[in-house]
């Protein structure tokens, strides 16, 4: 019994003595593997952090730009150039004089065209539509073909852009545009003047 117990003990003790060695090696290997994996994860996290940080920077810059652009659009009020009004007044005065009428119509086209380009910086869609439509009238229609009735209609348009400025709205533009269409003025580059200027 004592032998048996001893054997058992020996046997057990043998196993117990051997166990730490085995465990250490196994643990060392596991530790090594996990450490390696952990390093890989750390590297990946570093990369992801770098990417996210870059993206965040870009988004922040974009937001800043957007906010600053919006504040420009909101804060800058639109000054309609006075030369549109004064040139139109000259056109009215000299309407019966064909040579001067041609000069003023061309000058109006240039003033309106310049203002049309300036308006691209503003959030003023319908004012821009009014301006581009008035410019189209002077671009596509020969000055000598414009009638007094049409001139009155054009005067209404010029007055509207000064009175309403950025408060021009879609409904008022729609109504005005239809009046121009029905007045016989061409609003598309399909006139002889447009063909002469832009080709067939």
């Amino acid at each position: 019994m004592g032998k048996i117990l001893l054997k058992k003990h020996i046997s057990t003790s043998f196993q117990q003595d051997d166990l730490p060695l085995f465990k250490d090696e196994w643990a060392r290997q596991q530790l090594q593997r996990h450490t390696h994996e952990l390093d890989q994860y750390r590297a990946e996290i570093r990369d992801i952090k770098a990417i996210l940080s870059d993206q965040l920077k870009n988004v922040k810059t974009e937001w800043k730009n957007q906010i600053s652009n919006q504040s420009i659009l909101i804060s800058r009020s639109i000054d309609v150039p006075i030369n549109i009004k004064t040139t139109f007044e000259k056109l009215e005065e000299d309407f019966s004089d064909f040579s001067n009428r041609i000069v003023w119509c061309n000058e109006l086209k240039d003033c309106l065209s310049k203002f049309e380009e300036e308006l691209e910086e503003y959030d003023a869609k319908y004012l821009s539509w009014f301006v581009s439509t008035l410019k189209d009238v002077f671009s596509y229609n020969y000055a000598e073909t414009i009638t007094e009735e049409q001139l009155d209609l054009l005067k209404n348009g010029v007055e509207t852009i000064y009175e309403k400025q950025e408060n021009c709205d879609k409904d008022s533009f729609a109504e005005y545009h239809l009046q121009l269409v029905e007045s016989g003025l061409s609003l598309l580059p399909n006139t002889q003047k447009a063909i002469d200027e832009f080709g067939e």
Binding site: E116, K170, A174, V181, G184, L188, P189, N190, I195, G199
Partner: protein
């Protein structure tokens, strides 16, 4: 319109020509049209809308997607050549001229936006009675142009519910029979160069045989629908067209039709 008044019913080709054609044709045409009250229909308006808007949207989207206006113009020319469109076709011809008018993209795009979102409708309603006939209760192309990202989504010709083309054509059975029985000898290259009447004959036969006229068939026989709608809208109204297909249709269906030829107008100038 009072009884006894003679008026024009403007088809899609007339509606496009009266605004988009060049001065010579436009002046001649508008002078003729100013002599009588002019009417049109919702069916014609929807065809017009599809044509003008989708052309304008194509130009807009191509321009947005191009670096410069020159790039956009050459890409558009290539595209049009691919789909077999001629450079002198309306409204493409006018859009090509717009490219030459502008030096930079933003004001060019603003101009197109104006046409897409509003002006097309005023061009349609200009110089006509503002109440449109609607015997077909047509409701195709009902979408309004809307922007997605930087471009516009094209208008589909899809029909919504409520269209009454079948009821309308049921009331036009005798006309359908005439169309289904057009003498093939008449449908030669001279009388029917585009094969439009041949197609209308086939579709009319199919509808009389029980096929549903909704959707595709309705669009395939759209010239016949417009002719019949014109005739039914008001006694004695004259269908006005710039498309020679309507001349033969008018003869076959005995509908008063006035067809202007662009070539004749230009030659008579």
């Amino acid at each position: 319109m009072a009884d006894g008044d003679v008026a024009f019913f403007l088809d899609t080709s007339t509606q496009i020509s009266k605004t988009w054609e060049d001065e010579k044709i436009r002046h001649y045409l508008n002078n003729k049209l100013s002599q009588k009250p002019c009417y049109s229909s919702v069916y014609v308006k929807n065809e017009y809308k599809l044509n003008i808007l989708n052309n304008a949207i194509l130009v807009y989207n191509t321009t947005v997607d191009s670096v410069t206006l020159d790039d956009a113009e050459s890409r558009l020319d290539e595209l049009m050549k691919k789909i077999g469109r001629r450079p002198d076709e309306l409204p493409y011809k006018i859009f090509r001229r717009l490219f030459k008018q502008y030096n930079s993209k933003p004001p060019f795009l603003t101009k197109l936006e104006k046409i897409i979102e509003l002006a097309w409708k005023n061009f349609f309603y200009g110089h006509i009675e503002k109440t449109l006939f609607n015997l077909v209760e047509c409701n195709s192309a009902q979408d309004n142009p809307r922007k997605k990202e930087n471009g516009y989504i094209g208008i589909t010709s899809r029909c919504s519910s409520g269209c009454e083309i079948d009821d309308f054509l049921k009331s036009q059975q005798s006309a359908l029979k005439i169309l289904a029985n057009i003498d093939d000898a008449k449908l030669d290259r001279i009388n029917d160069p585009k094969g439009t009447l041949q197609k209308i004959k086939i579709v009319s036969t199919a509808i009389l045989g029980g096929a549903s006229p909704h959707g595709k068939l309705c669009k395939e026989m759209s010239d016949a629908v417009i002719s019949l709608e014109a005739e039914t809208s008001w006694p004695g109204i004259i269908l006005h067209s710039m498309d020679s297909d309507f001349k033969l249709l008018g003869e076959v269906l005995n509908i008063p039709t006035y067809v202007h030829s662009k070539h004749k107008i230009l030659n008579n100038q």
